[in-house]
Amino acid sequence: MDSPASESYTPTELLICTSARLMTDNTTAFIGTGIPMLAASLAQRMHAPNLVTVFEFGGTGAILDQLPMAVGGESTFHRAISATGICDMMETAQRGFIEYGFIGGAQIDAYGNLNSTVIGDHDHPKVRLPGSGGGNDVGSHCWKTIAIMRQDTRRFLEKIDFITTPGYLTGPGAREAAGLPPGTGPYRVVTNLAVLGFHPETRRMQLLATQPGVTVQEVIDNTAFALTLAETIAINPPPTDEELQLLRKEIDKDRLYI
């Protein structure tokens, strides 16, 4: 990345820029509410003009020059390739056409399982969260799932309260045994502190790169399970001026998200 930002940036801006860099041109990506929308819009403007965005209620291949506020809003099929419905989108994912799936959650465990349903017991919850929505389907069908979250010891847990969306479930082979399509699963977790991946054998989360100014120890301290470390741990470059300008002056000029 050229010209690192001379000005400061927020954790949300960092999450957006880091996620955008993971979006590849000429690939399909299932886009969830919030940060994935901004990241996709940024990626299309930077390096991935033909990032084929897929939105669950029917939009495919939208040009994201208007910021979506909802996964069914007009922006999700603005100048798109097609505008169909939810069954077509889910079936397309189930047939293996969608490479990346970008999702979020309230809690994540070492195997990349996500909770967005309840905090506490399901039938007597402390906090009732929205529920799966398309999360479970994205995590089931997309080849590579990328979770975007804030990282701390309340969110990164050895055992989460409820598995809404499947990661590697209980470990190697568990997805296939459950009947999920082979070769799918969590790929990256993007946080304000790090970019994490999954060990190819143990399927447990491992640290791949730290965000600018963050130490490895800080990432470990903000994870409530034993974190595997990759052999070499990279340091992510900070958001560039160009990325920040695009975010602030074009993509979210009304500052609805950032």
Partner: protein, 329 residues
Amino acid sequence: MMQVISEGIGPLIRPPDLNAFREWNRQKPKALIDKRMTEAEAIARFVHDGDYLGTELYGTVRCPMSLVSEVVRQGKKDLLIAGQGVLELDMLLGASLVRELDITYIGLEVYGVSNVLRREVESGRILNCVEWSNAAFALRFKATAMGVPFAPLRSMLGTDTLRYSSAKVVECPFTGEPICLVPALILDVGLIHVHRADKYGNAQIDGITGFAAEMARSCKRLIISAEEIVDTEDFRRRPDRTIIPYYLVDAVVHAPFASHPGEMCYVHKRDEAQIKEWVNASTKPETTQTYLEKYIYSVKNHQEYLEKIGWEHLDTLKVSGDSNGQPCI
């Protein structure tokens, strides 16, 4: 014989009876009847206490808010709800009209969790939350639309979403692999807002169609509201554009801006300030009631609601034409 490997512990809120549904569909009138009526008449005639109710699309997009507001105004209670929603289900939850939920997503999207969902569930006022994924949810309607009692799907597997659903995992009789089966969902009443309809109930939707086609075919009774009422000749000239044929429909309500404060693609944008007013009001029970009083109970009908919001303001939300500025019909 297909072996059941595991099954969800969630109750099957409404076991599907496809034979009864066939009989029901057979007796639905196929005559061309003028079904235009007001929200008040449609809800009074076709929605009853204890009904299983579904809405489409969702929340802030092409949402049947004028019909939902009338359900709240008439206080239809003990509802069973197919829960894919944002503001529309928030209104029903805020008014404590919901007894049980088949839920996939109820939240406020960019504004986070639904405060009224939290209060209704955490207090125990809602008896059951049966969990589903969005694909499972849409497929349950699709199964009904197909006229079969279940449909297979490769999501939900291995998760608590499945454990707290009423889906079953079986060994596929063709591949031997585990596959998830979801039961057909037959609604008592469906509420759908569309771009245009004729007086008999034929309907067109512009832009994405969400799960309108599937849900419309899964309802015993279907009420549609439409931005505009057009001549039947418009449908006969472009039959490929008909997403809901008239014989599925029981009532047609002419309701411009019925999705407000949500958006209606190619017609009007969402009303961010009004959405935020609900988000803020819904944080406390008292202010929730104040909002419902102001925008639903104290208002006679949708027309009066629009007047309260103000036409001058509504005009600022209008857009004209599609992504290229072209008219849609």
